[in-house]
Amino acid sequence: MNYQSDENGYYGSFGGAFIPEMMHQNIDQLQNSYIDIIESKSFKDEFKLLLQDYAGRPSPLYYSDRLSDQYKTHIYLKREDLNHTGSHKINNTIGQILLAKRLGKTRIIAETGAGQHGVATATVCARAGLECIVYMGAVDVARQSPNVEKMKMLGAEVRAVQSGSKTLKDATNEAIRDWINNPVDTHYIIGSAVGPHPYPDMVARFQSVISEEIREQLKAKVGRETPDYVIACVGGGSNAAGSFYHFLNEPSVKLVAVEAAGKGVNTGESAATTQLGKPGILHGSRSLLMQTSDGQVVEPYSISAGLDYPGIGPMHANLYTTQRGQFLSATDTEALEAALYLSQKEGIIPALESAHALAALNKIEFKPDDIVVVNVSGRGDKDMETFLKYFQTVK
């Protein structure tokens, strides 16, 4: 079975391009050109060089003695937190800015939740000399203020979105509306593996450098390219898509996606889409979606702004439905505790999003000789305020 998308952007029954006519021209152009562009030699050379010299790749694959001791297995951390701008998001924005330039676009828009994608977009726009506008839910602007300041310093305009739940979903709506109003000069850099075809596949391809490196690094370290487990957090699912990509069609590798349970899957304050959603259409693709019986999108909740999204990328919806992927969830508290644990045992402060993946280590029975890779998708600097507030209440 093939878990990649087909030529129409479908992963099983999920994906496609459900877009208003106002977006047709741009999406059609992307669909027809993205593979040719990103497979061309000049693109590949430029992309590779920038990932290396600008983003600092390859990111290390670090063997964690102390986590391995704790969980009685072999745990490696894929250190996406060490990338330039502090997360995996830069992989995709470097790819998309090169694409936008080749399409002749002069204005860039993006949505952001935690602000990591916004910062990564503002960064590549600064370097490319392109105008950059980032839509961010007003709630997220408040809870991720260091990233807002960074985007501004990088020369981007941050527009606080006041509609709906004022989080990632609403920021995405507003970015789509911007694109509808500015179809000619603008490219929309979507940060997650969501949106109409070709975005989920395009973002997954740009992020696939993560699993490409994991293979090479494991080969060098343990003599085999495939681990037993790859564990990543999932909101829309770009870091998971990148971590899973080169293992999708290898059934011996267990793919574990960790969603944000918020205050608990059944509390009404959660973002665990596979547990709470059913097939539906949002932001241009058919996927699993948290919604009412009447088809209205339900406001999600998670302490982590990057996972606070009512949907999930179509690749992941298919992994869930076909049971190729194992879907777990971690609550706010479990993620906070996992972040504290990694900080104090390994000296690595992870992003709240990545802490969800780490929290899943408690939920899996590993064998002593298993090789487990956890993707540490980002670093926790942006979350210090949330961490401090939590540790004050529990101490």
Binding site: G16, F18, H283
Partner: protein, 258 residues
């Protein structure tokens, strides 16, 4: 079965005035009153919006009315309930407009069947792409004599417009500029060139221009390049605020008495 939209264009093919409003707004049970008042004051076509939580093709006015309508408790089930006996009172063609997800959850076939039972003549579903409609839904819509209306924009290629023209029943919805609904009026050379380009294509379908039409002046200008025009955000703004909804609708429609 005859379709009222087709019949309308046989009787009248100039100066068609179509009005959009969001069902459940300003009050949950205003739907029937708004429809009959619009008909009484000369609306040729009425588009009833089915509110959605994430209306990406809409500007702020329709976003707000949708949000309010959902808070008031509007659902597709309830809308069908409200419209159950509408054909005893009005004969104007009725179109339901909304996003694909709520319709999908209701069930496409079930939805079309309900429309047909009630006497709904057409649908506008902006995020249902032409290709998906053609391959998956067209047959069902035709079984129930429902016209599905497609949009074209200044970016739509001639080739695609020809395809839309072939697949259209009812009319083609010409989006006046590259924008979400409720855009500021801006008639520039580019827009006129677009209107004239489409006019010269001699399409078989009738064309109504929408987005940015707010009063009799902009309505008349749009009509000079098409069979008529659609007003949405300006109408919703007019029925927002204090006063009886019937009066507000009448007041608004008086602007178009000519």
């Amino acid at each position: 079965m005859e379709n009222r939209i087709t019949e309308l264009f046989i009787k009248k093919d100039k100066q068609i005035l179509s009005i959009y409003f969001t069902a459940g707004y300003p009050e949950l049970n205003d739907t029937k009153t708004i429809i009959s008042t619009l008909e009484k004051h000369g609306a040729d076509l009425i588009e009833v919006g089915m509110p959605f939580s994430d209306p990406v093709a809409d500007g702020i006015v329709i976003q707000k009315s949708s949000e309010a309508a959902l808070e008031n408790g509007m659902t597709i089930h309830l809308l069908f309930e409200q419209l159950k006996e509408i054909r005893k009172h009005v004969s104007v063609p009725l179109i339901l407009m909304g996003y694909l997800n709520p319709v999908m959850q209701f069930g496409i076939e079930n939805f079309c069947k309900k429309c047909s039972e009630i006497g709904i003549d057409g649908t506008i579903i902006p995020d249902l792409p032409l290709e998906v409609y053609e391959s998956e839904y067209k047959a069902i819509f035709e079984t129930y004599s429902l016209s599905n209306i497609f949009l074209i924009t200044p970016q739509t290629s001639d080739e695609r417009i020809r395809k839309i023209d072939r697949l259209s029943s009812g009319f083609i919805y010409m989006v006046s500029s590259s924008s979400t609904t409720g855009a500021k009026e801006a008639v520039d050379q580019e827009q006129i060139a677009y209107f004239e380009r489409i006019d010269k294509m001699c399409l078989r379908s009738k064309r109504l221009i929408g987005f940015g039409i707010s009063d009799n002046r902009t309505f008349q200008r749009a009509c000079s390049y098409s069979n008529g025009a659609i007003i949405g955000s300006a109408f919703i703004t007019a029925i927002t605020g204090d006063g009886e909804v019937e009066n507000k609708v009448s007041q608004f429609m008086k602007k178009f008495d000519s």
